[in-house]
Symmetry: C2
Subunit: 165 residues, 2 copies
């Protein structure tokens, strides 16, 4: 079973103080076939269903040039996730692992990252395959897949630094 | 030249309203050899210098099990970046591209993502290679590299969904 918000045997939660070291702005919304956490995939697949992303103004102009990339990195806010678990039991069997050793949505900053296949961009709308998030998930960022992107800006000293001094 | 905070020819900024749709908590800090944006690499390399990550309490327990992964995904907050550019000129030559078609640090939610080589974990300290951020960058998240991670939780209906209905 997927987690709703329960704490399972042997899991450990900490006191999560809702401080704000930095603030996020939602720049769009993601529409997927999955309306329940009980059916949402654990991991997206590039032959999976088409998902739609609507980018909000004033960010639509920032899509210019993105269509040339076959795959894009998508960051989104896992808005239903609890944020206070340090040890989790994904199989709900009494064994636990640290949150940072899992790709669970429950984490102190619940930011999901996916590499999706870009199908099309029309105006403010993107069609992609390979997502694994709930319908209605807030969008945080879009970037070219790191393996397809070559920096346009000239390199800097750090780009040539190998090993330790 | 790297951007400090200037706007270049043909670039476009929008009014950035400092709203807060969601709040981030800094869970650690990253120490790298680069103290100026003028020398920080454009892209990290796995044969680059060792960087150190200090995880803050109460999140240290969440590192349990991470050491088994050769590569980890690291999310961090690019705290010096401007957030209002929709068109950017990386080469500063009068030609522009949309922010989402670049991996520039200047973006509405300046979250950096890297795949780093994990060298060691000792207590609250990680040593990694492959980062490309400034010394002192706030840490947001650590996850296993997606290509090395197999979900422990049982699959869900969405995991088997191929194509469109």
């Amino acid at each position: 079973m997927v987690r709703e918000n329960e704490i399972r045997a042997a899991e450990r939660a900490v006191e999560f103080l809702p401080s704000s070291d930095a603030a996020l702005v939602f720049i769009g919304r993601i529409y997927t076939p999955w309306t329940s956490r009980m059916e949402t995939p654990r991991q997206g697949r590039h032959d999976g269903p088409t998902c739609r992303i609507e980018v909000f103004e004033p960010w639509v102009a920032a899509l210019e040039g993105l269509a040339q990339f076959e795959r894009i990195e998508i960051l989104y806010w896992l808005h239903l996730s609890r944020r206070d678990l340090v040890l989790q039991s994904p199989a709900n069997d009494g064994t636990v692992r640290g949150t940072f050793s899992l790709r669970s949505p429950a984490r102190p900053n619940p930011i999901g990252t996916s590499i999706a296949k870009l199908v099309a961009i029309e105006g403010a709308t993107l069609l992609v395959r390979g997502l694994d998030c709930l319908d209605g998930t807030p969008l945080l960022d879009l970037k070219p897949d790191r393996t397809l992107f070559n920096p346009i800006a000239p390199p800097q000293a750090g780009d040539f630094q190998i090993g330790d001094p």
